[in-house]
Amino acid sequence: MIDARLLEKGFSAGQALAHFARANPDSGGIASFVGKVRPDGDVKALHLTHYPPLTLPGMEELARKAMERFALEGILAWHRIGFLRPGAPIVLVAAAARHRRDSLAAVDFTMDHLKSAAWFWKREKRDDGWHWIAPRGQDHADLARWD
């Protein structure tokens, strides 16, 4: 079961995970990761843009790859777009599998790809205005682990 979504409004990771667990009753384990807007220094807001013809189809394709690669029973990949406040969740990934290591590796894999191979662009508002966030070298190194 694949549940990939682009969300224009805030969401509760706890509720989403509870729902995902009910949707995958036969799995031995569920691993997850939720990433939030870091309440860092003077960041007032985050703005996430995307490209509709590619972004959600790309997330669905990524989810299908993870399902096959890690023998999952279900995967959830939700990503916010629009304006977010510090502390708000940006991304939630969860994987249900028979075996623990598969579920954890699938979350790791999916997060690495959402970070540096999915069609999102972030900018943040600081005291002196909006700034685009450049891709980090570390993110590309993380991604290369799966080649």
Partner: protein
């Protein structure tokens, strides 16, 4: 009808707009001329991807957009 060029992420600051309409048809040299020097300089970077009519181009230089098509210029991403 015309070709719509979309500037994604930081490219929209360089282009001074989120999109621009130009006359079709449009090939890769035509696109370079149409986007202005600041965006053209970014397109030298192979990391800027190009989609046309909703499909990512494997070879950007093979661009062939017709009236009614949308071209999206996709700089390196920073999601998650």
């Amino acid at each position: 009808m015309a070709v719509r060029i979309l500037f994604l992420g930081p490219l929209q600051d360089l282009a001074g707009a989120a999109e621009r309409m130009v006359e079709g048809p449009l090939d890769w040299p035509g696109l370079i001329r149409a986007v202005g020097p600041a965006v053209a300089a970014q397109l030298q970077d192979e990391k800027v991807n190009v989609a046309c009519a909703g499909e990512l181009l494997m070879d950007r230089s093979a661009l062939s957009a017709r009236d009614g098509d949308e071209i999206a210029l996709l700089p390196p991403v920073s999601g998650g």
